[in-house]
């Protein structure tokens, strides 16, 4: 099996080299015509490359999909830890076949799906995603009106830290996350400063501490997330979202939209991915299911594989509907 794959790789490299011989070398564009290492739909051991973006919910979906692909369909899955936008670039080079949970990204859809035609949409994940600003529940009770963005400036001093330069701190997550924070602060005239915590884990830790030790905290967070089952959080109301109000990223002055999270696959995978593509396309589950798996991974110390296996064993009726006919 390994040898076979290596031979195919070699053959692919040779083909590229030969093709490059006349007319200069082209970079693979992820279209069906490229000869290198196309997943073979029927044989076992073909490779599916899944991008894994850095948050637990995504990881849960990716783990369940990978487990099904490997254990039930006999594919080899390569999981690549990549940031959201870098994953899209992976379509172009053939480094990435599947993005499991895409949060909007209309600009990237335009570039990679419409203009360059290297990717296609593969349907909803069934999860509804909402990004927002949150505070611990006790703050909402203690400070009247704090959940209205118009009152945030009044309370900005509460959120001051050594990192926030005299303004109130708005704690952000991973640098690669979808973000309108800078624009919102500027356009709504808020006396806040974005401080980057660097990761989902850091956000969870800060939120947990803020709840336990009753420390003020204003932070960026999202649903679906298991943290809402553990900690009482209150969302800040920003000006309501209206269609197109976030079209220009620099002029955003409205709340995040509720997104229908979806799957994006490379065009080559959609055309030649066979049963693997069928499974990816059919995959769809609830926020509760994702939270359960994500919770097992983050707080119950299970590996993504083990957490996925546990869910798969308990929910055959759900996933059997996804399997290709």
């Amino acid at each position: 099996m390994r040898i076979g794959r290596s031979l195919r790789l070699l053959a692919g490299a040779l083909t590229v080299a030969l093709a490059a011989g006349c007319g200069g070398a082209r970079v693979e564009t992820g279209q069906a015509t490229t000869p290198t290492s196309t997943p073979e739909p029927t044989s076992t051991g073909a490779v599916v490359r899944i991008a894994v973006n850095p948050w637990a919910g995504y990881e849960a979906s990716a783990a369940v999909l990978s487990h099904l692909l490997e254990k039930k369909l006999g594919y080899t899955v390569e999981r690549k830890n990549l940031a959201e936008q870098v994953s899209w670039e992976g379509f172009e080079k053939g480094d990435v076949d599947v993005i499991v949970e895409n949060w909007g990204h209309e600009d990237l859809k335009k570039t990679f799906i419409q203009d360059r035609k290297v990717a296609v949409e593969a349907g909803s994940t069934g999860n509804k995603g909402v990004i927002g600003w949150y505070i611990p529940g006790w703050m909402a009770k203690e400070y009247p009106g704090i959940t209205d963005y118009r009152n945030l400036n009044k309370y900005a001093d509460l959120f001051r830290t050594s990192e926030s330069g005299g303004k109130g701190q708005l704690l952000f997550g991973d640098p690669s996350y979808v973000s309108n924070e800078e624009s919102l602060i500027r356009n709504l005239g808020l006396n806040l400063k974005v401080v980057v915590a660097g990761s989902e884990a850091a956000l969870i830790e800060s939120a947990t501490q803020a709840q336990r030790q009753r420390k003020p905290l204003l932070f960026y967070f999202w649903t679906p997330h298991w943290l809402f089952d553990r900690i009482d959080l209150a969302r800040i109301t920003l000006p309501p979202h209206a269609e197109g109000c976030d079209a220009d990223p620099k002029k955003v002055a409205c709340d995040y939209a509720e997104l229908d999270l979806d799957k994006i696959v490379s065009r080559r995978f959609a055309e030649t991915g066979g049963r693997a593509y069928e499974l990816v396309k059919n995959f769809s589950w609830t926020n509760e299911a994702q939270n359960a798996v994500a919770n097992d991974i983050t707080t119950n110390g299970m590996t993504p594989e083990a957490a996925a296996e546990k869910w798969i064993e308990a929910n055959e009726s759900v996933w059997s509907a996804w399997m290709p006919q």
Binding site: R26, S162, A197, A201
Partner: protein, 655 residues
Amino acid sequence: MTASPVRTAPAPPVLSESTGVPAVRDRWRTPAAAVVATVAAYLLFRGSATLPHDDEAAPFRLLGDLREWVDANRNASPVFLFLVNYVRLFAGAVNDGLALLLRELGWAGTAGLATGIGWLAGGPRTAATALAGFCAFGVLGVWPQSADTLALVLASVLLSLLLGLPLGVWAGRSVRLRRLLDPVLDVMQIMPTFAYLAPMVLFFQIGPAAAVVATTIYAIAPAIRITALAVERVSPSAVEASASLGATRWQTLRTVHLPLARPTIALAVGQTVMMALSMVVIAALIAAPGLGAGIVTGLSRADVGLMLPSGVALVVMAVVLDRIVTASARSAVPARSTLVGAAALTLCGVAASGLLGNGFPPGWTLHLAGPVNEAVTWAKFSWYGVTDAVRNLTTEALLNPLQEVLTGSPWWLVAGVALAVAWRGAGPRNAVVAVCCLLATAPLGLWQHTMETLTTVLVGTALALAAGFTLGVASALSPRFSAALRPLLDAAQTMPSFVYLLPALALFGASRFTAVLAGVVYALPPVARLVQDGIGAVSPSAVEAARSCGSTEWQVLWKVRLPLARGAILLAANQGVVMTLAMVVVGGLVGGGGLGYDVVSGFAQRADFGMGLAAGVATVLVGIALDRITRGAAGRPARKVSRRFPGKTGKKRIA
């Protein structure tokens, strides 16, 4: 405006430091006047001409457009069709070939091969180190990642040497080429690893091929420089003798230059390997596979258990490669029995691979993530009070006031102070270069972030110098302390820079302080070592003379040893600044802010690509400026050799 900015105006400490040697009272008059003038100017003009940051600055948009153009023309423009894409394909093919080889050899086969090479290079001890190292990869459960990293390192080192050694030999024999290369290599060695990545993404996209190209370029500088030095230093009489016997230039090169320069060239190889190793890790940010991916993922998830095995494996790999290369520099041509032994070891490994299969036996792996994370959580919660206080104190007392002064001052005042300091310490030429570099960050649209980075660098350097100075003086005075410290410093200098972020992040979370701390720890070993060497080199007769005049030990230290070791101490400051900068920029990954975060964000968000690329350039400019400001005083020619030459200062890398 919590702290009074006047109290911590940056000018006084910097100026008084640079004046150094005690002298007549008159010498203090001008600096004192300058300090007073600076403080007055700051108070008067605070808040004006500050060049605040704008995410929409024209250079960022311009660079963003450049990227759009490159993306659109990747398969159309001849530059790409006939040059860039071929380089990419070639680098990728070398890496894929090596990765394939390692994968087919399997864990046991590769371990056998490495042990055999270790045996050839340095006998049983080196062989045992190599074997132990490969066992460690397996036991830590990171063999496949280690193999990927090893393939990347080998591919890049191979390409670096292929290009670098001939260039080095040529440069060693041609003064003109040397003069041409020197400034380029200078910049390359000051340039932090981070700054290499953005242009790579632009031209070579992401993935292992881009990583190999980046690493090759990064690691080529020492290969060229040290080889040139080695060839240059070959005794002229030997060359003369060879020429007088009628040898052609080529024959002289082959039979005289190369054999005589061999040990030093082996050092160049070692240095190249170490540089490649530290770069390959950071290349994980552009989707290079291997151990770096584990560390970057761990950093981005604040999951120490996830990154620790990769971090340890990386250190182990550095040690193994270092031992093998160092040993082969010393050894003569191997005897036949050694060759047979080495071949036997390799065959054993390959045979074992047939039995064990390609991977490492899964039953022998230790699963560390759980216990490690429990320990980290325990440490975090039980030390929270202390770590939080330390972080907040440093941030409120040092970082925030200094940042307020630097970002709140008019740009011309900062430039003026830099000019004055550099002029006094390093002479007019260096001063002008330094200030030009510093000012060039303004049209890039990154003045404010440069000032933020400068804040962390200054604080980090001050702390690193204070700590390194203390350690260096202590170990110069006490041989026992020095003996205890040496292995620690040795180990610290073999570690790739990324590894330093782990403990800092685990204890202090993501913040500027974490980046500063990692920088301090990173810069500490070379600073301590240089100070120790400098003080140790002070002539014993001078010390003796002072003692016989009745000086106390303390007086001998302050009046004799330190002044005489001034050159080494200034060199330590130079090293400290450049290394702290490199680390602080990487610290953008763990809340370091400033230019480092711009670079990180440039990878993560397409819209910020232009800013990230500009920030990479700005980092280089800051590096050159800081290097120039701290260099001159140490006396350039002597400094250059000891700084670039690993034999003298131990191994050093600029991450």
